[in-house]
Symmetry: C2
Subunit: 231 residues, 2 copies
C-alpha cells in the first residue's frame, strides 16, 4: 500500500511542466480566443506476454488523480480563491482527512512522450517498453494499432498506440522507469482470461487506453489465443 | 471548410480555464511534488440513431489540436522563450504559413463537464445530448458503458461513458451547442456499416472515445443490428 502524506497544495505561478498559452484567432470571421498548453505527442504500448499469457501494464501513483479523489472527499469543491493552501509543514490542506494513497494508483499502458526528434515513434515505444517494463522488443515486432487525439480541449496532442508481443525470453530487466526522473512504476500482469473483466471493472482505476486495447486484442487476436471470457 | 486566420499566440499568465497548482507530498517517506490542474469530471455519450442506423457524433474546431498541428509544420519546435508572439494585428505567429482550419477539426462523442452538483451523471449526459445533438432522450434510456481516468498526468479527472439509442422521433432540435458559450458544434452522422473503417482511419482526427465506443457497440450490439464490417 502506497503511503501518501504531508500533502500541501500551493498555486503554481511558474511551472516547467504546465505552461498555459492563449491563442487569439478568427474563425469564419468571428474573433475568438482559447487557452491551451503545449505538450509532446505520445506513444502507448499494449504488451502481451506469450509465455505467461498475460498483459503487462504499469501501475503508478498519479498525484493529479489522487488530488481529484481528495477533492471528492471534501463536503464541497472549493473555488480557486480557497486554493491558497496553508503552508504549515506537514499539514494536510484544509485540515481534512486524506484518502489512502491507493485512490491515486492507476493502471495504464506502458507509455511515453515523443520528445526525441531523432527517434521514430517505434523507437520511442521500444525504449519505453524496456525502461518501464524490462522487455527488449525489436522495433520490427511493434505493430501499430491506431492513433487519436488525447486531450482535445487543453493539449490537442496525438497519441499513437502499438501492440508488442513479448516472451519471458525478451525480459532483460525489472523495468520500473527512471528513478532519477522520479518514476516509481510497478509492472503488473493481467492474465488474459481475466482481461475483459478487468477492463470493465470500474473499481479499478485505469485509462481508456487499457480498456480499448484489451478489447482490440479480444477482437483481433482472440482466434490466435482463444480468449474464453467474452464481454 | 473552416476559415481560421489572424492567429496570435501570447503567454497566458492568468487563465480562467487553466489554473496550475503544485502539490507537495510524501510518498513512502520520499518528498515529491507535482504540477497539476483542477478540472471537472466529464461524461460522454455514444448516440446511435435506430431510424437511420447511424452514429451521431459532434465535430468542432479545437484550437489546441490546431496549434499542435501548426507547431508540426514549423521546421523546429520552439522552446518557451520563443513563445512571446508578435503582437502585430493579423500577423501569424512566427510569420510562417498557417495550416488550413480543417487540421483542427475533430470528431468526438457528445460530451460535457460534470459541473452541476445537483444533477446526476445521467441528467448531465441527457442535457448534452439535447444541447449538442438535438435529441431528447429520457434519462432511463441512458446505458452506462464504463468509466476511466482521462488525463492521468495533468488533470486526473474521471469520465463516464454512456450509450443512448435514439430515433428520428427523439429529434427535437438542431443541436450545435451553446453559441453564447462560444460553441460551434456540427452534428455528424456516421453510418453503421462505415463505423469500423471510420474508427481506424487515422486520417480522420478523432478521440479515443470514438474508437473505443464504436468497438464496444460492435461487440455488444452487433447481434441486434447485424454489423457487416468486421475489423
Amino acid at each position: 500500500m502506497e503511503q501518501i502524506n504531508d500533502i500541501q497544495v500551493v498555486p503554481c505561478t511558474s511551472s516547467n511542466y504546465l505552461k498555459p498559452f492563449r491563442v487569439h484567432y478568427s474563425q469564419n470571421g468571428t474573433k475568438k480566443s482559447w487557452d491551451f498548453m503545449r505538450t509532446h505527442d505520445s506513444v502507448s504500448v499494449l504488451i502481451f506476454n506469450t509465455t505467461s499469457h498475460c498483459f503487462v501494464l504499469v501501475k503508478q501513483f498519479r498525484p493529479a488523480v489522487y488530488m481529484c479523489e481528495w477533492e471528492r472527499t471534501k463536503p464541497k469543491a472549493p473555488d480557486s480563491s480557497e486554493q491558497v493552501a496553508e503552508e504549515k509543514e506537514g499539514a494536510a490542506v484544509g485540515g481534512g482527512e486524506t484518502p489512502p494513497g491507493s485512490v491515486g494508483m492507476t493502471y495504464e499502458l506502458c507509455a511515453g512522450l515523443v520528445d526525441k526528434a531523432d527517434l521514430s515513434l517505434e523507437e520511442i515505444a521500444r525504449q519505453e517498453v524496456l525502461e518501464e517494463c524490462g522487455y527488449d522488443v525489436p522495433v520490427a515486432k511493434l505493430r501499430r494499432i491506431t492513433s487519436y487525439r488525447s486531450g482535445v480541449g487543453v493539449t490537442g496532442a496525438k497519441q499513437t498506440m502499438f501492440y508488442a508481443e513479448v516472451s519471458d525470453e525478451n525480459c532483460v530487466g525489472e523495468g520500473g522507469g527512471e528513478p532519477q526522473e522520479g518514476e516509481l512504476i510497478e509492472v503488473v500482469k493481467v492474465p488474459l482470461h481475466e482481461a475483459m473483466t478487468f477492463a470493465y471493472d470500474e473499481s479499478i482505476p485505469k485509462t481508456m487506453g487499457v480498456i480499448f486495447s484489451f478489447i482490440w486484442f479480444h477482437n483481433n487476436m482472440s482466434p490466435k489465443y482463444k480468449i474464453s471470457t467474452n464481454v
